[in-house]
């Protein structure tokens, strides 16, 4: 008996042969394939040789230093290894590193829970992550209470600062963006106009000028004598900037909810606020999650910009290490350091954007 139950999935062999055929299907394609293969043959072996075979994996500056005045070939991974502590913790005091580790663990655990298919109460976790996690992380990192020694913001740096900034920007801009998106749909003209003006202004002014704006103007607007460190000001700028992007994402989600949903909820006797909270928002959040993840990717990439105002994030910590006279040993140190930094950012951003794409696809399939 023949069954047609399982769709025909081509095996690996069939797929490989199809790929091969597609590469040599016409004279033009053969030429393209040849050019790409030649390019790979020219570029890849030296790259592999440089990064892996000739790479210097451990030790201090000596591992990459020139011998008898001759430049050492190969990547200098020893730079990453020996500056690891600075890259991750910046100038954060050695004895307090466990606090940073705890925050990292918290972020990681929440991230895994949010991405796992088994965990069901994701809404609750997300809410906790936005409302409860930031204050806990803030207290843990800053200290000064509960017997934790105080660590001033000026001693925050490295990967820890990047994560803090990205987390604060995300946790702040999400609710603010949702609020602005709701205001933009309000039936009250004053509130709608204010929301539109807010979004248009922040979509039009780039991040760097906005950062300069907050840096220079915010201290002037506070009562004389108030001293606000660089990092809180940068966080304010990041939250403002990304809230506009979040608001646009939420607006798209709210628009996608059919009008009948509002009408049905209202005719069941739900109030306006309850309609939003119980009927509209749960559906909208499911729609906008991929878009919100894309904003999160953008935030992670944007955090690097704060080195312009002199804060020492992960990337700037690498720059600082490269400027250290001990490591002025040749171009290979810089190349290796940038390659490493690129890998770190790429892994995070690529991972997040894959999740976003997967959610999008799942939603499309469900229809």
């Amino acid at each position: 008996m023949t069954t047609l139950e399982t769709p025909l999935q081509p095996g690996i062999g069939a797929r490989a042969s199809r790929l091969l055929h597609s590469c040599i299907s016409s004279p033009g394609n053969i030429a393209l394939t040849l050019a790409l293969v030649l390019l790979a043959a020219y570029a890849l072996p030296p790259l592999l040789d440089w990064t892996i075979l000739q790479g210097h994996w451990s030790g201090g500056p000596d591992a990459c230093a020139p011998i008898d005045g001759k430049q050492r070939e190969g990547a200098c991974w020893a730079f990453v290894g020996s500056r690891w502590t600075q890259l991750v913790y910046g100038p954060y005091p050695d004895s307090e590193h466990w606090r940073v580790d705890a925050v990292f663990a918290m972020v990681l655990a929440a991230g895994i829970a949010l991405l796992s298919r088994r965990v069901t109460s994701k809404g609750l976790i997300g809410l906790l992550l936005i409302l409860v996690a930031p204050p806990i992380a803030g207290v843990l990192l800053a200290g000064g209470v509960l017997g934790l020694p105080e660590v001033p913001v000026s001693r925050w740096g490295g990967l820890m600062l990047t994560v803090t900034l990205a987390g604060a920007a995300l946790a702040g801009s999400l609710p603010l963006g949702l609020a602005v998106a709701l205001c933009r749909r309000s039936s009250l003209p004053v509130i709608r106009v204010l929301a539109v003006g807010y979004i248009e202004f922040l979509r039009g002014v780039p991040l760097v000028p906005l950062l300069f704006l907050v840096m220079s103007i915010l201290p002037l607007l506070l009562p004389p004598g108030t001293d606000l460190a660089l990092l809180p000001r940068a966080i304010v700028a990041f939250i403002l900037f990304n809230s506009a992007g979040m608001a646009e994402v939420f607006r798209g989600g709210l628009q996608a909810i059919p009008k009948g949903q509002f009408e049905a909820a209202r005719s069941l006797g739900l109030s306006g606020a309850k309609t939003m909270a119980l009927v509209i928002l749960p559906q909208a959040v499911a729609i906008v999650t991929p878009g919100l993840l894309n904003v999160a990717v953008a935030i992670v990439k944007e955090t690097t910009v704060i080195l312009i105002i002199g804060l020492i994030d992960f990337l700037n910590q690498i720059q600082a290490g490269l400027a250290d006279p001990k490591w002025l040993l040749g171009d290979q140190v810089r190349d290796s350091a940038y390659l490493f930094a690129g890998l770190v950012y790429w892994a995070v951003c690529f991972g997040l954007s894959r999740v976003s794409a997967r959610l999008e696809l799942e939603r499309e399939r469900r229809g």
């Binding site: 394939t33 509130i191 760097v208 000028p209 300069f212 220079s216 607007l221 990337l315 950012y345």
Partner: protein
């Protein structure tokens, strides 16, 4: 009589405005106190005072004694040049990679996907540092430049290109070009009208093209090709002549255009995907040649989907030019938001101008995009 809900609505809006007003009043009184305490001037009079600092790239005459207003213009021009060059480079690369993602050749598809996923997921600033600190800065000094055909040179001081120089009689060629384009426009309109009326007209593209560049070509030949190239040449310790591009601009343009090209590629791919397969199959079934299928069926429909997000991508590229501050390319933000702010300390005035310029350019371009969208939008039947 007012309904209860209307009164509620007015009350809420009034309350919002009052709270907002109170915040503004509080901030303004703090600002006034702070400005007097710090002894900061107010007003826009500083714009006409000499700036007193040099700018490393000036497209219009500028010196240290020029006023702040001139510095603003120079910096704005630097931003515009950077954005224009980057857009011009990013667009063809983006289209090539986008087409590559839908190529019949599996290897080309793989490489294009790799390009997009690599460039999109690494911070632009890190890419900028790579091009600037890892690639351009370690280049050899002028004497050991990398040269191409003796006309282009690349070294640690920057990129040196041949520059076209107009000779006597170039004005006539330019006038002929303008006249030709006007003529071509009229001819295109007449041909289109005739085709609509009679269903038959001579093929438009060759006629329009000939009318557009023909007069200029004849004028150039008559006046004896009134243009020559000024080639850069090594003199002393550096290159002289030609068009010198500082390394900061090269790095910025490289980083911006390669980064944006990844996004443009995705836009192009989505545009191609938006053309239903049935359209292509129907065109083939009618016996159209592959080139005609692309040119008359796929591209016009794909462009309708591509153009709006492409415009937004250009705006994003424009906003990303502000990263220039990180490597010291004198763009608007670095010169005005950095140097001028530090010198004058007039944060309110400087930031107002800076934001106004960005908002104006941003708003102008988005208005242009919207206008174009309305023009090409398909009338729904």
């Amino acid at each position: 009589m007012m309904q209860r809900r209307d009164i509620g609505a007015v009350a809420i809006q009034a309350a919002v405005l009052i709270v907002l007003g109170a915040i503004v009043w509080f901030a303004a009184s703090n600002a006034a106190a702070n400005l007097t305490r710090l002894g900061i001037n107010t007003g826009f009079g500083f714009l006409w005072r000499p700036a007193g600092f040099a700018i490393s790239q000036t497209l219009i005459p500028y010196s240290e004694s020029s006023p702040y207003l001139a510095a603003l213009t120079v910096a704005a021009l630097n931003t515009v040049v950077l954005a224009a060059v980057s857009i011009a480079v990013a667009t063809p690369i983006g289209f090539a990679v986008g087409l590559g993602r839908r190529s019949a050749n599996g290897l080309v598809r793989g490489v294009s996907t790799g390009y997009v996923e690599l460039l999109r997921n690494v911070p632009l600033l890190l890419q900028l540092f790579f091009w600037y600190f890892a690639l351009l800065r370690p280049l050899p000094p002028p004497r050991q430049s990398l040269t191409l055909l003796g006309a282009v040179a690349l070294n640690a001081r920057g990129l040196f290109l041949p520059m076209p120089v107009a000779d006597e009689g170039f004005g006539a060629v330019l006038a002929a070009l303008v006249a030709g384009i006007l003529l071509a426009g009229i001819a295109a309109r007449m041909l289109a009208r005739r085709r609509e009326r009679t269903g038959d007209a001579p093929p438009a593209p060759p006629i329009v093209l000939a009318l557009a560049i023909g007069p200029a070509l004849i004028a150039a030949l008559v006046t004896g090709l009134p243009m020559h190239w000024d080639l850069p040449h090594l003199q002393g310790f550096n290159y002289q002549g030609g068009l010198a591009v500082q390394p900061e601009l090269v790095a910025m343009a490289l980083a911006l255009s390669l980064y944006s090209a990844a996004y443009i590629a995705e836009i192009v791919r989505a545009g191609l995907d938006a053309v239903p397969r049935g359209q292509i199959e129907a065109a083939r079934a009618l016996g159209l040649r592959p080139l005609t299928v692309s040119g008359k069926i796929v591209v016009p429909q794909a462009l309708r989907v591509i153009v709006p997000p492409l415009g937004n991508e250009y705006l994003r590229l424009f906003r990303n030019t502000t990263l220039a501050a990180a490597i010291g390319y004198p763009d608007l933000t670095m010169v005005f938001g950095g140097t001028v702010l530090n010198q004058t300390a007039q944060a309110f005035e400087v930031m107002l101008i800076l934001c106004a310029v960005y908002l104006a350019i941003n708003g102008g371009v988005s208005a242009l995009i919207n206008w174009y969208n309305r023009r090409i939008a398909v009338a729904h039947r």
